[in-house]
């Protein structure tokens, strides 16, 4: 049930500081959209406004509109808990719950939403671990702690955990930056499989990665340190990497700065 996201005039604050300014864009369902840009340009902050994680940070505040199909995430009466439940997230560093087994990690989100029979849970665990290309590696030690896995395996476990609640959208905040090249490749493969089921938004520092996995790419930039980050342009990945309309994008892509 992948959904489309429409953002209009979104501004995010840390206390009095304006982190990103007046961003409007849309994200296509069942495709991968990549956010690129130099450090501090607000791409991670913007990502966190898409599932209302930004307001968890002390002083975090958001203005503007984010439509998921036809519901405004920031509309009156909307429960941030439901939003996060519907829009899953994978973080920069793999963060499986250290006190839970691999099995319990996968079903952690599910268990919040009600009672399930053992068979149902078993099903979900297997399906999502297979979906995360992890099943064959861990099927014999499902009851072992998740923290015993390698970094790449842990990150795939986190992806399985996020997909297990069947979200509409999957947000990924530099999911490979803490991983070695081989694990990175495994995650990238996984992303291209997952896009058939989810709307995926990925923040990355790595332009090759953006070129490899995404259909559309958004370039963010900031005028100077301390200034708010802005969306410079968003288009198909081919277009951004071969023939961008903005000079700043071209400079960044060609490695002239950042």
């Amino acid at each position: 049930m992948a959904k489309r996201i429409d953002v209009t005039g979104l501004t995010a604050f840390y206390g009095a500081h304006r982190a990103i300014d007046d961003i409007s864009m849309h994200v296509e369902p069942r495709s991968v959209t990549a956010f690129i840009g130099p450090s501090g340009c607000g791409k991670s902050t913007f990502l966190r406004t898409l599932n209302r994680m930004h307001e968890v940070t002390p002083g975090g505040r958001v203005e503007g509109q984010v439509m998921l199909d036809n519901e405004d995430l920031y509309g009156p009466g909307v429960d941030p808990v439901q939003v996060r439940r519907t829009i899953g997230m994978v973080f920069q560093r793999p963060n499986p719950f250290p006190t839970m087994s691999i099995y319990d990690n996968v079903v952690a989100g599910l268990k919040l939403n009600g009672k399930f029979s053992r068979a149902e849970l078993d099903d979900v665990v297997e399906k999502n671990l297979r979906g995360a290309n992890l099943w064959n590696e861990v099927k014999d030690r499902l009851n072992k702690p998740g923290s015993g896995l390698s970094g790449g395996q842990q990150q795939r476990l986190c992806i399985a955990r996020a997909t297990s609640v069947e979200p509409d959208v999957l947000l990924m905040d530099e999911p490979c930056s803490a991983l070695d090249p081989i694990s990175t490749l495994a995650i990238e493969d996984l992303i291209s499989q997952l896009k058939s089921r989810f709307t995926i938004v990925i923040v990355t520092h790595n332009m090759q990665q953006a070129a490899r996995v995404s259909e559309r790419t958004a370039f963010f930039n900031l005028a100077a340190v301390g200034q708010p980050g802005k969306l410079i342009e968003i288009d198909t990945t081919d277009k951004i990497f071969s023939n961008p309309t903005q000079q700043a994008t071209e400079d960044y892509i060609s490695g002239r700065f950042g």
Partner: protein, 389 residues
């Protein structure tokens, strides 16, 4: 967890086999719910129909607090319950129960559990703050009338328990002398032990010392008193004196000094030591001239907190200093008094004027200790940037 293991082990081979084709089929199906039909009780659709969630209005918690307070007071008055404790307990119970009930109806179960937890946390906060606030309030309100210059500068010599007047000069003098003597003993030993643990200590001896320092922190003050009693007074035959009390206080003080100094020394960056050693400065001079001065702010704070802690000790003083109504300025000979002991003695007399003196002395004691604490924390804050904390 063991049943999980069994369950999984028993099940794994079978599903692993069926799973293979399942995974292939899964790849394309959007929700991946294709396989659910095979199992009875298939996975329910989890996705909420809407992101909206009926919520209680913002003023609801305040209204619930007010309402439950009202119920508490009302039952208290109508039921003729004497103690305010009962009123408060009724109000707290009504608040927690009502919040849970109302939220369950309006927002649903999960939100209700969340609110229940929040209201319990708030309630426990209030439950804890009340007695502590009352303690401070009572001490201040009942103590202030008794505190005067006369009270601070006279002893209890010749004042009978039911009479008014008298003062705490002898007790103040005793407390100051005993605490100073105790720190003269405890600070060098404590500092050196901390230096040993951080700069030299390795292996089994250091581990043993660390463990026993921790355990020593938990020695009841009365046990420290009994130890000095059995050794100093009963075995070695010395009499009651301020010094005997100071010995017991120093035992209580040492582990606190070690602990805080250790923490501070560990914060001194290793590069500082290396820089000094690389200049050819011997290790002991490095410690004395570089390491200790860098950490001095934090160490002072720790020592003052330890002082504040032992200044309020009563139990060993009862056993070792014995108590006296007269001014005895020699801590090495004869019974003395101390502030906490004075409070205890006056309480034990049980007359109104003695109670007044007890509260007044308690106020002086609390003020003494709070000033030590505030100054100590002030030093900690003032020195903080230099130690890189």
């Amino acid at each position: 967890m063991s049943d999980t293991v069994k369950d999984l082990n028993g099940r794994t081979p079978a599903t692993a086999a069926t799973g293979k084709d399942g995974a292939a089929a899964d790849g394309g199906s959007p929700g991946g719910e294709g396989r659910n039909g095979k199992r009875s009780g298939s996975t329910r659709v989890l996705r909420p129909a809407t992101l909206k969630q009926p919520r209680l209005p913002r003023w609801a918690p305040a209204a619930l607090v007010a309402g439950s307070l009202g119920v508490g007071v009302l039952t208290g008055v109508l039921g003729g319950l004497e103690s305010r404790l009962q009123w408060g307990l009724i109000a707290a119970l009504v608040f927690v129960a009502a919040t849970f009930a109302v939220t369950t109806i309006v927002e649903g179960r999960r939100q209700a559990t969340d609110r229940l937890a929040a209201s319990l946390v708030w309630t426990s906060f209030v439950v804890a703050i009340l007695p502590l606030a009352s303690l401070l309030w009572e001490t201040i309100a009942r103590g202030i009338p008794g505190v005067s210059w006369y009270f601070l500068t006279h002893s209890m010599n010749g004042v009978l328990s039911w009479q008014e007047g008298g003062g705490i000069y002898h007790a103040l003098l005793g407390t100051v002398q005993q605490v100073l003597l105790a720190s003269v003993i405890a600070i060098p030993i404590g500092l050196l032990t901390a230096v040993y643990l951080v700069e030299y200590g390795r292996g089994r001896l250091a581990k043993t010392i660390t463990f026993f320092v921790d355990v020593m922190t938990g020695i009841p003050s009365i046990v420290a008193g009994l130890f000095v009693l059995s050794m100093w007074i009963m075995m070695l035959g010395f009499g009651y004196s301020g010094f005997a009390g100071a010995l017991a206080l120093s035992i209580l003080m040492m582990p606190i000094v070690v602990r805080s100094t250790e923490e501070m020394l560990k914060l001194v960056p290793g590069e500082l030591r290396e820089a000094s050693l690389a200049l050819g400065v011997p290790k002991w001079r490095t410690i004395l001239k570089v390491v200790l001065p860098t950490a001095i702010g934090g160490i002072t704070t720790g020592v003052m907190l330890a002082l504040a802690r032992i200044a309020g000790e009563t139990a060993p003083i009862i056993l070792l200093v014995f108590g006296s109504n007269m001014i005895n300025s020699n801590p090495f000979e004869g019974a003395q008094s101390s502030l906490p002991l004075f409070v205890y003695e006056q309480w034990a007399f049980g007359t109104e004027s003695a109670y007044d003196r007890a509260w007044a002395a308690a106020l002086v004691l609390i003020a003494f200790i709070m000033i030590l604490n505030l100054v100590a924390r002030g030093i900690a804050r003032w020195k903080a940037p230099k130690t890189g904390r």
